[in-house]
């Protein structure tokens, strides 16, 4: 219910670390100021990257009734910007700065039907919702999508807990998800909650719009950390500021521009608010729009991008990776 967006920082002790799936660690905190975490909530925490404190967001997988134990799960991304790598080094007894649970993705009680869609590590945001819907005896389906079973956190638990309401689609078992089929059972009274890679979410959103379903019933959360392409190093030029900045794979364009001394406007840093939008005057490469601020029409125009999450790649063809001559360049007008 309550939409809490106020960051209340506190220290929290790590009381449990376990590897629960391939490259996925479950980390349990004992926070100093416990508050029960509602389904869909997340915490922000400070990770150390190159000796600097950087803020990251992680969904709360579960918490004890009184909030004295709060669990997240972190996937060690192969192309980590540093956050997940750091989180994989924490151990029991460590103390971290974390916020009390924040809520941007509340589950609404009272829909006639629910579909919960989790892609990969996105299950962390969805698991708690499924638990509450089960307790409420709601009509729900939990759909879990992943590349392979070993890489799908909480698989056995969720399957056991939700029985017939649990559906898995696993690429390397040949049971990949068909979005069209998923939406077959969806009607105007269904709410769909999803968390996962941007490709999956875009596909659902497209199908949702095509089927003329009610847009507010499509609920999603993104931390803007996945795109259509793997991140590549690229160059951003700002003629007005006489800047040419290299954007490495582990930095966002916004961060790289800030590092270079540009005075940038931004807010959410996850591709929702549109405040960090920059206008593009020249482009060699392809824009990997990772935001949810633009409509597809606007993304196709390629005139603007949200530099907090969106990137530029040299080519749609992955084979060109490493061919330095293909390095993408984007020229922008700063605000």
């Amino acid at each position: 219910m309550a939409v809490s967006q106020t960051q209340v920082w506190q220290s929290a002790t790590v009381v449990e670390v376990s590897e629960i799936a391939r490259d996925i660690k479950r980390i349990v905190f004992a926070p100093e100021l416990p508050v029960k975490a509602e389904p869909g909530s997340h915490i922000d925490l400070l990770v150390q990257i190159d000796g600097e404190d950087v803020q990251r967001s992680y969904s709360v997988v579960d918490s004890s009734e009184d909030g004295s134990r709060i669990a997240i799960s972190v996937f060690k991304a192969p192309l980590s910007r540093g956050g997940s790598e750091f989180m994989h080094t924490v151990s029991v007894g460590d103390s971290l700065r974390i916020t009390q649970p924040l809520q941007n993705f509340p589950l609404r009680v009272g829909a006639q039907k629910y579909v919960l869609l989790a892609g990969g590590i996105g299950v962390t945001a969805i698991a708690n919702m499924a638990r509450v819907l089960k307790r409420l005896k709601a009509d729900y389906t939990l759909v879990f999508v992943g590349r392979s079973r070993e890489a799908m956190a909480y698989f056995a638990e969720l399957e056991a807990e939700h029985g017939e309401r649990f559906q898995a689609h696993i690429d390397d078992e040949g049971t990949s998800l068909s979005v069209a089929e998923l939406l077959n059972d969806v009607d105007l009274n269904t709410e769909l909650y999803m968390c996962g890679p941007i490709r999956l979410m875009d596909a659902v959103r497209r199908a949702w719009i095509e089927r003329e379903l009610d847009l507010p019933n499509l609920r999603y959360e993104t931390f803007g950390n996945s795109g259509w392409y793997d991140p590549e190093e690229f160059i951003v030029r700002v003629p007005k500021l006489n800047l040419e900045v290299r954007v490495p794979t582990d930095r966002s364009m916004l961060e790289a521009l800030e590092d270079a001394g540009a005075d940038m406007m931004f807010d959410c840093r996850k591709g929702e608010c549109g405040l960090c939008e920059v206008r593009i005057t020249e482009l060699t490469g392809i824009i990997d729009h990772r935001d949810v601020f633009y409509s597809e029409r606007q993304q196709r125009l390629n005139q603007k991008m949200n530099c907090c999450v969106s990137r530029v790649v040299g080519s749609a063809d992955k084979a060109s990776e490493g061919a330095s001559a293909q390095r993408a360049v984007v020229t922008i007008e700063s605000s």
Partner: protein, 359 residues
């Protein structure tokens, strides 16, 4: 449980409970604002008549949505920049962008319409079971007729519960209408079970005070003589108190269950905390005789309104005295027994919610 908690002078209110937000007729297509449990709430009706309660602050810049207007079948539009929310609190229209920010949402509180009231649940919405709405069935029963009003009381909600659980105060606060010596002289019995408390008091063979004499004469024209008088106070957590009241011709068997020679009313009270120091006090007086007389309905409503104004003045004075004497504590008497059981139940609810505050 510490004694200190049980006699807290400012008791916090449970959140996981139904409270009356408004009378049914107050909630219309024109949005209204009401502060409930410390939070401003915007109340309105959808095109198909359903009552809706949204947090009364736009997600964007917190402008009060209650000052906006209803649009479409269930939308409420912010008066400042035109952002529209549906009855679930979700943004359905956003200015100057083609998509809708996924975070754009305001809390929507569960609402149930029942017994002529719109009830609201301010706590964990996953616990908002409509079966937990307190029993106020006399409000809509065909066997009862009556009406009521709302008092805005400048005091902590619990002081009103204390007031209603111990009616010895009638002798002193309401001396011209329902008060009489026998109230503080007669014995009473307190029972409790689960989240309910009952206080029963009988006064035998007494003169009817002015209010009850009038009622007896409405039913038995020209009535003279002694009466047996009763007050049976039914509390249901967190803050609903129905008082079964009446008098019957003395010695006609009312204490044994035959009320045919008497007049019976139900004082319906339900209190909604507004802030820690103010309350919305919804009350009604229902009767089970001469049901078709609107004259009597109006007379009783106005009569009780006058009586309750005396309580309101006392409660406000009490709250002011509490605030002016921060070092003084409450002392509990035998007459507080019903109220003390109420406090014990509320304390348990607050402990379960992890929100007990010592004061």
């Amino acid at each position: 449980m510490s004694t200190n908690t049980v006699t807290a002078k400012i008791l916090p209110h449970p959140l996981n409970a139904w409270y009356v937000a408004a009378w049914d007729h107050e909630v219309t297509r024109k949005p209204m604002s009401r502060r409930i449990a410390n939070r401003p709430v915007a109340l309105y009706r959808t095109e198909d008549g359903r009552a809706v309660a949204l947090a009364d602050a736009c997600w964007h810049r917190l402008a009060p949505l209650s000052q906006g207007k209803v649009v479409g079948k269930d939308g409420l539009q912010c008066p400042y920049h035109g952002i529209v929310y549906n009855s679930a609190g979700r943004c359905i229209s956003m200015p100057a962008q083609e998509t809708i920010n996924p975070s754009a949402i305001v809390p929507s509180f569960p609402v149930v319409e029942r017994y002529r009231y719109v009830w609201i649940w301010m706590g964990d919405p996953t616990l908002a079971d409509p079966d937990l709405v307190p029993d106020m069935s006399q409000m809509t029963s065909e066997e009862w007729a009556g009406d009521g009003l709302t008092i805005h009381a400048d005091c902590n909600y619990q002081l009103i519960l204390d007031n209603l659980m111990d009616l010895t105060h009638e002798e002193f606060v309401h001396s011209s209408s329902i008060g009489q010596d026998e109230l503080s002289e007669s014995d009473f019995v307190v029972t409790h079970e689960g989240n309910r408390v009952t206080v029963t008091r009988w006064m035998h063979n007494i003169d009817a005070p002015p209010f009850w004499l009038k009622n007896m004469r409405d039913k038995f024209p020209g009535f003279e003589g002694k009466v047996d008088r009763w007050q049976i106070i039914h509390f249901e957590a967190p803050s609903t108190i129905r008082i079964d009241v009446g008098v019957a011709k003395a010695g006609t068997g009312a204490p044994q269950g035959d009320r045919s020679q008497g007049v019976n009313g139900y004082v319906m009270n339900t209190i909604t905390p507004e802030t820690d120091r103010s309350s919305h006090y919804f009350w009604a007086f229902m009767r089970n005789y001469r049901l078709d007389s609107q004259l009597i309905t109006t007379q009783l409503r106005d009569g009780v309104h006058g009586v309750f104004a005396e309580d309101e003045a006392m409660l406000q004075a009490q709250q002011a005295a509490i605030d002016a004497n921060p070092d003084y504590q409450f002392y509990n008497l035998n007459i507080d027994s019903g109220g003390m059981w109420v406090r014990r139940i509320l304390t348990a609810m607050l402990e379960a919610e992890g929100r007990l505050v010592a004061s």
